[in-house]
């Protein structure tokens, strides 16, 4: 049984079709990489999944419940969390408060009060390695720290599906490896399905991903187990021959 299922989802802006009849399935606890160049419709797809936009056509199911037209704030407590391409911290609040907000409003199925949320926040902050930054204003973090904070904020929601929009952009290869390792560990422990969206086929993501979905101009062109997807000629086409072998240098340029 799938955790998330999209059926023929189409989202347009004016005349521009950002997402074109995309169907896909994400299983529980699965690590999926969505790959596509800039403008291929990845962010729009995320926005449809977490309810920022409603699609014109098609349906979105989460845990076999139709959530196509459910407002975003109701999806979060179902267990859908996300990070943003450009981090969006609540800048005037502290890191601790930011993360606590995730626990307070996004926690699945139960009500969490302020004190409990702050405790959860402290735990998650420590776990992700931001210890010592908790009382800083989130706006004062470095860009990479902000990315970590967003992941902490999402994890504090105890999600079942974590959507990560270019979470690794701007990081060193070493940092990416650590981050991916950390995510895989957390995901396994807490049975979180992770959908990581990347612009380039990055070794780090691809190595961990069980499945790769490739988007091009809003259409899904490949949806296959990782190894199979990487050898698909269409993938090579999308990247103009830039295959999986030389990905690493590109990963930081996004």
């Amino acid at each position: 049984m799938s955790l998330l299922r999209l059926e023929n989802v189409t989202k347009q802006f004016g005349g521009l079709v950002a997402v074109d009849k995309v169907s896909l399935e994400i299983a529980k606890g699965e690590f999926v990489g969505i790959v596509g160049p800039n403008g291929s419709g990845k962010t729009t797809l995320f926005n449809v999944i977490n309810g920022v936009f409603y699609p014109e056509e098609g349906r979105v199911f989460f845990d076999e419940t139709d959530i196509t037209r459910m407002p975003p704030y109701k999806r979060a407590p179902l267990g859908i969390a996300r990070t943003f391409q450009i981090p969006r911290p609540f800048a005037s609040a502290t890191v601790r408060e930011n993360v606590a907000v995730g626990a307070m409003f996004g926690s699945r199925g139960k009500s969490v009060n302020v004190e409990q949320s702050l405790e959860i926040a402290d735990r998650v902050i420590e776990r992700i390695g931001l210890t010592g930054h908790g009382r800083k204003n989130a706006g004062m973090l470095t860009p990479v720290e902000k990315k970590f904070m967003e992941i902490a904020r999402a994890l504090a929601m105890q999600p079942r599906l974590l959507l990560m929009d270019e979470a690794m952009a701007g990081m060193h290869p070493g940092e990416i490896d650590n981050m991916v390792k950390f995510l895989v560990e957390v995901a396994k422990q807490e049975k979180i399905a992770i959908v990581a969206m990347v612009e380039h086929i990055m070794r780090a993501v691809v190595n961990m991903a069980e499945k790769v979905i490739v988007l091009d101009h809003g259409e899904k062109i490949v949806d296959a187990p990782t190894r199979q997807a990487l050898s698909d000629p269409r993938v090579v086409d999308v990247y103009l021959g830039k295959g999986a072998e030389e990905e690493n240098a590109d990963s930081s340029s996004a």
Binding site: V52, V101, F105, S107
Partner: protein, 333 residues
């Protein structure tokens, strides 16, 4: 062992300021009127801060809630003048009516305006006070443009002595209590889920939604709370202190401007900000009106542009930043 009272420390400087205002007003001859004006500004700022400061939304029609509160008290006094045996109960009913009417109006306005974001919200509210004024005048509600004068009814209900004591003293004390209550509510909100939700939506509404925050609900909570406090301020400071009401006076946008200046000057979204803003604004307005009569608004307009460009976080915001990690930090919020 954590100090259980520590979260309430920020109330101390606020209450201290109110106490000083009261004592100075009582004991220094000729100061009661100035103190009362300052108390009015404190209450206005404290009430407005719950919405403007905590949500970051600008309600240009805010004065309408003071106006409707004034009409609430006026309605109770004129409508129940035939039952003088109710005595002060009528004043209590007036306050309840003021809160109910302000709440209803804020729900009506909020139902439309709070669906809108940022600039569209401000545009929708800019006509609320004028619109409501013209509705009262145009449809001849509550005597339309001729207004209501109810000094006689107040005298009848409470007796001449008590009613004049209320006009000259107790009405101002009530405003002081309203200001204090608004401060307490602000603190309680800030410490609760409501405060976290409002901070999140003020900083980034879309991100807040994705985090599971029902932003409309929290905006409405802040809006209604802020509006009902404004209603009681109108009822006490306008209807009881000066027992008459004329539509152009109680829907005058000027008061919204003053509320904005007070909140921005002191520091939007801070606990102590409205008090500091009210004192700076009220005292400088008082002395400007003596030394440079007619120039107050000109100067304040310049000041507010200057603050927005140079110190958007306001006086308390700056102090808060400077005193982080010091002994007085727990008192500044």
């Amino acid at each position: 062992m954590k100090n259980r009272l520590r979260p309430y420390y920020p109330l101390l400087p606020v209450f201290a300021a109110y106490l000083v205002l009261f004592l100075v007003g009582r004991n220094v001859t000729g100061m009661w009127q100035l103190a009362a004006t300052l108390v009015f500004y404190c209450a206005l700022g404290q009430a407005f801060n719950i919405f403007l400061g905590m949500t970051g939304y600008v309600d240009f029609g805010y004065v309408a809630f003071l106006g409707i509160g004034t009409y609430g008290m006026a309605t109770a006094i004129t409508g129940l003048a035939g039952y003088p045996q109710l005595g002060l109960g009528i004043v209590a009913i007036g306050f309840i009516l003021a809160i109910v009417m302000a709440t209803l109006l804020s729900m009506a306005v909020g139902a439309v305006a709070l669906r809108l974001r940022g600039a569209y919200f401000a545009i929708a509210t800019i006509g609320v006070n004028e619109g409501f004024r013209y509705l009262i005048e145009g449809a001849n509600l509550w005597n339309g443009s001729s207004g209501m004068i109810f000094t006689a009814q107040l005298n009848e209900i409470l007796g001449r002595d008590l009613s004049s004591r209320i006009m000259t003293f107790w009405a101002d004390v009530m405003v002081l209590f309203i200001a204090a209550a608004a401060a307490v509510v602000t603190l309680l909100y800030m410490k609760s889920k409501i405060g976290y939700a409002l901070t999140a939506l003020r900083e980034d509404e879309d991100a807040a939604k994705v985090m599971g925050i029902n932003v409309t609900k929290y905006k409405i909570i802040a809006f209604i709370t802020s509006a009902s406090f404004a209603g009681t301020v109108g009822a006490a400071s306008w209807a009881l202190k000066t027992p008459y009401v004329f539509p152009p006076e109680v829907f005058e946008i000027h008061y919204t401007i003053e509320a904005i200046i007070i909140v921005m000057l002191g520091g939007a979204g801070t606990m102590l900000g409205p008090v500091v803003g009210a004192l700076i604004y009220g005292i400088s307005k008082y002395y400007l009106s003596i030394f440079l009569p007619g120039f107050q608004l000109f100067i304040f307009a310049l000041v507010i542009i200057f603050i927005i460009v140079m110190f958007p976080e306001g006086v308390v915001g700056v102090i808060k930043g400077k005193t982080r990690n010091t002994a007085i930090a727990p008192y500044i919020m």
